[in-house]
């Protein structure tokens, strides 16, 4: 099996133009979740989200285009033979909103493949890739599939780019499901009241170890294991017993050839909904019963960025391993019983080289990735 390195990781989130700014804000316990000014919210169950303040649109294009432009500004040169995998749940759905309101809009931005096509064009890549959509586990699965393509010799380099937007389309839907918290979300807190949605984008450049060394790329982390599984239980709610997440984690650990005691920290999906958080804690307490592995969620800081969540969280996970610090779970104050001793309101030091990051989504999908600290040489 070929080793898969992450050689570059960039983000654009409401907590900063780049990953360094995001990391600093996370460690300070900051939150970007605030009142929405982008669309009227008086008829919804909440009025807050985590938006990038100055995400402006020019002409008929979607905000997705503007977000992607800001993301690629941070890239170092990407090899032309890189295979691009994008991940999104709703692409440029803001343009559907505009179109249905009679506002001129570029229709191609609405298509699910629009993010892929836009980036492929901007980066002038030679190879054809794809967009992957798997609800809120989209980018986690995109990273896993990208790693798999490298491991088995299909390609030497994969660029995984993920993004999703805060739109009235998505906000109204979560409101109708009564899933939105009226206050900034509080993952794993006893008094949590739902999720807060957010927007953002991330890109991770994956390379075979050999190719990365040839190009003298930094070794930020190794993608050691991955897994995905379906609950086969409910279309919008997680399985109470967490069977899918458990299967995904066990699969990832088997691929990584690691054991529970190897894991230094867990980046949880941690949305702040009653059922998601309970399900996750049940699974973590089961698999890591004998190991006090710290668990954190960054969704109290940047909201639930949906299809981009896994990519942004993997990028944060790289810094978690490099700095040996698990960031705080912003909004967490009164521990859910099952979270006691695992989840912290403050950042804490961690010991070890492996990080587990998980995401779950509508349609019962769950995905897990295990990262190993890179050598940075």
């Amino acid at each position: 099996m070929r080793e898969v390195w992450i050689t570059e990781a960039v983000t654009v989130t409401p907590l900063g133009e780049d990953l360094k700014q995001l990391w600093t804000a996370l460690l300070c316990g900051n939150s970007a979740i605030k009142a929405i000014s982008r669309f009227p919210v008086q008829n919804y169950h909440a009025g807050i989200a985590s938006c990038i303040d100055d995400l402006f649109v020019s002409g008929k294009r979607s905000m997705a285009h503007a977000l992607l432009q800001r993301l690629i500004q941070q890239f170092s040169p990407i090899p032309k033979d890189t295979l691009l995998i994008t991940a999104t749940t709703k692409s440029g759905i803001d343009n559907l909103e505009k179109s249905q309101r009679g506002i001129p809009a570029e229709h191609r931005d609405i298509m699910i493949s629009a993010v892929y096509e836009d980036l492929h064009r901007m980066l002038k890549l030679e190879r054809e890739g794809m967009n992957i959509s798997a609800s809120c586990a989209s980018s986690t699965i995109a990273i896993a599939q990208g790693a798999e393509l490298i491991v088995y010799g299909w390609t030497d380099a994969v660029l995984v780019c993920c993004m999703d937007l805060v739109t009235e389309f998505v906000f109204s839907g979560f409101s109708a499901l009564q899933a939105l918290s009226p206050e900034p979300c509080r993952p794993f807190d006893r008094d949590r009241r739902g999720l807060s949605i957010g927007e953002g984008a991330a890109a991770l450049l994956l390379m075979s170890k050999k190719r990365a060394r040839q190009e003298k790329r930094p070794h930020l982390a190794t993608i050691l294991g991955w897994g995905a599984a379906n609950d086969a239980s409910h279309i919008t709610a997680p399985a109470i017993d967490g069977c899918g997440l458990q299967q995904a984690i066990k699969q990832a650990m088997a691929v990584a050839k690691c054991k529970p005691s190897d894991i230094a920290a867990i980046n949880a999906h941690g949305t702040g909904t009653i059922y998601n958080d309970l399900m996750e804690l049940k699974v973590f307490n089961n698999i890591f019963a004998d190991h006090p592995v710290p668990v954190y969620s960054i969704k109290g800081a940047i909201g639930h960025t949906m299809g981009a969540a896994g990519g942004i969280e993997a990028a944060v996970g790289i810094l978690t391993l490099q700095e040996n610090i698990a960031p705080p779970t912003t909004g967490f104050a009164n521990p859910e019983k099952e979270a006691e001793g695992r989840v912290q309101a403050e950042s804490i030091p961690i010991a070890g080289d492996y990080l587990l990051t998980t995401n779950s989504g509508f349609g019962g999908i769950n995905a897990a990735i295990i990262l190993k600290k890179g050598s940075m040489q």
Partner: protein, 242 residues
């Protein structure tokens, strides 16, 4: 990288059914049928009528494919993955959802419809109905061939990620809001692919992927999923399979 095809099922503008039933297959532009529960499922499935058109289409073709592979009846959940390819995804459902939402300033947003505004929701529906616990995701690729789902399935089998995969394509016609002319073939077509040929009597033939990304069915190159279905059906008639 190789595997065996053990089932195929489809719903297109002119036909629906599955390979072992010797149903006719063709995939071309045209109006898709209104699928009823009785067209696909023998037993009552009250939820089926409440699904959006995209989910009904995809779920029906998956149901036919699983029936073809004799995997539609289960008592314990099955570790079967699903990878679907789509060009437009659930755009039709998106339009329906947001039309109803803006009518009353968001007050009438339908939670039920919103749940199906993801291109992979129908895979979740299939997972629940057939107890499928493998990975499930949707691919959108620039080419209309839809072959990436097969490649991903075969690569995943090499790594041990998948043992059995349902993969194929699902697309409604483009809605008028987006395009005045619908010229691309529409419909849903799925295959069941198995790593270990433990059920030889169900094998249509062997699917192989070479290092250049070329897919071959019984040593003949395939260019798209429709061609694969046609070759499977030809294999059946040549072998005289039941």
């Amino acid at each position: 990288m190789k595997a065996v095809i053990t089932g195929t099922g489809w719903v297109t503008s002119t036909t629906m059914g599955h390979g072992r039933n010797h149903d006719r297959f063709e995939m071309r532009p045209g109006k898709l049928p209104e699928i009823t529960r009785k067209d696909v499922f023998e037993k009552p499935y009250p939820h089926f009528g409440r699904l959006d058109r995209y989910s009904r289409l995809g779920l029906s073709a998956i149901a036919f494919a699983l029936k073809d592979a004799e995997l539609n009846r289960w008592t314990r959940k099955q570790n079967i993955a699903m990878i679907a390819s789509t060009l437009h995804g659930c755009l039709d459902t998106d339009i329906d959802y947001f039309s109803s939402t803006i009518t009353a300033g968001g007050r009438l947003a339908s939670p039920h419809l919103f749940a199906y505004t993801l291109p992979n929701s129908f895979l979740g529906e299939a997972a629940i109905f057939f107890g499928l616990t493998g990975a499930s995701f949707v691919i959108s690729e620039p080419s209309a061939s839809g072959l990436w789902c097969l490649r991903m399935a075969l690569i995943g089998m090499v790594g041990g990620q998948f043992e059995k995969v349902v993969c194929g394509t699902c697309d409604l016609n483009l809605p008028p809001l987006i395009s005045e002319t619908n010229t691309a073939p529409c419909g849903a077509l799925f295959f069941v692919i198995e790593k270990e040929p433990t059920r030889q009597h169900l094998a249509y033939g062997k699917l192989r992927l070479d290092k250049k990304g070329i897919l071959k069915f019984d040593d003949e190159e395939i260019e798209n999923l429709s061609m694969l279905a046609e070759k499977c059906l030809l294999a059946i008639s040549n072998k005289g399979m039941d």
